[in-house]
Symmetry: C2
Subunit: 117 residues, 2 copies
DNA sequence: TTGACTGGTAAGCAATTGCTTACGTATAAT
DNA sequence: ATTATACGTAAGCAATTGCTTACCAGTCAA
């Protein structure tokens, strides 16, 4: 089979690849507690500051964090809404392992229906 | 900063990396409908059969699918319980984007409490 | 037993990832 | 003005990924 034409995919990372790396998940876990600067985050890892900065760039790219300049520091803030994409995909599987969550699903659907005025 | 001693990590793939690849998610989506053989799965992708086989090997390694020999064919079956690990991690974030799911969480916790004893 | 079919795995490879150090720029302190 | 601090980003590199083709083993049909 010959190589396919890749049609110039610009290879923008998606949420699934973003959370695939354990360090990036840990970063998100840290930011769940509070916003933080790169140097502060880097102090929590056995890794150089640029390395953490690069991980943050990926999280930034997919929209899982936001960056706000404050003087000469940069505050990174958790933006967890993008994780809903993962949740949506998982929704199809949840019933397989948890009947209670299935019950919750039904419960939520009912709430949705009631919301539609 | 010098390179760290990697202490011989055997680099077994985890669930997060397994579902990071879009093809592997599609494979799982296919298996959600029904068990399938490699060749059948490969026919659904623009990719050689060995490539799909290698993806299945990863899914097998992390336990997201199981393999059952049937004559000269191999049936792959979805084993979705391992996705719970992802769900558990996501549980901490869900409240951020969905208050209703938060309500469901409370609901589930109450059910859990009632179940004890 | 021969031949066709299913399928895992090895070898090889280009591309990507994940780190490092080095550097440049902007803000703050003295 | 000079110096120190915080930070992003580039360059370079080893390791990994994700495909390919080639091969070999097991099963079924004739």
């Amino acid at each position: 089979m010959p190589n396919r034409n890749k049609s110039s995919q610009n290879a923008v990372a998606d949420v699934f690849t973003a959370i695939a790396h354990p360090v990036r998940r840990e970063i998100l876990d840290h930011l769940r507690a509070d916003d933080a600067t790169v140097t502060h985050l880097a102090s929590q890892f056995d890794m150089s500051r640029p390395a953490v900065s690069q991980h943050l760039a990926i999280l930034l790219e997919v929209g899982l964090v936001s960056r706000e300049a404050q003087g000469r520091t940069n505050r990174y803030r958790l933006e967890p809404e993008k994780l809903e994409e993962v949740d949506v995909w998982m929704r199809h599987y949840r019933r397989f392992w948890n009947k209670k969550l299935d019950a919750l699903d039904t419960f939520l659907k009912k709430m949705d229906t009631n919301d539609e005025t």
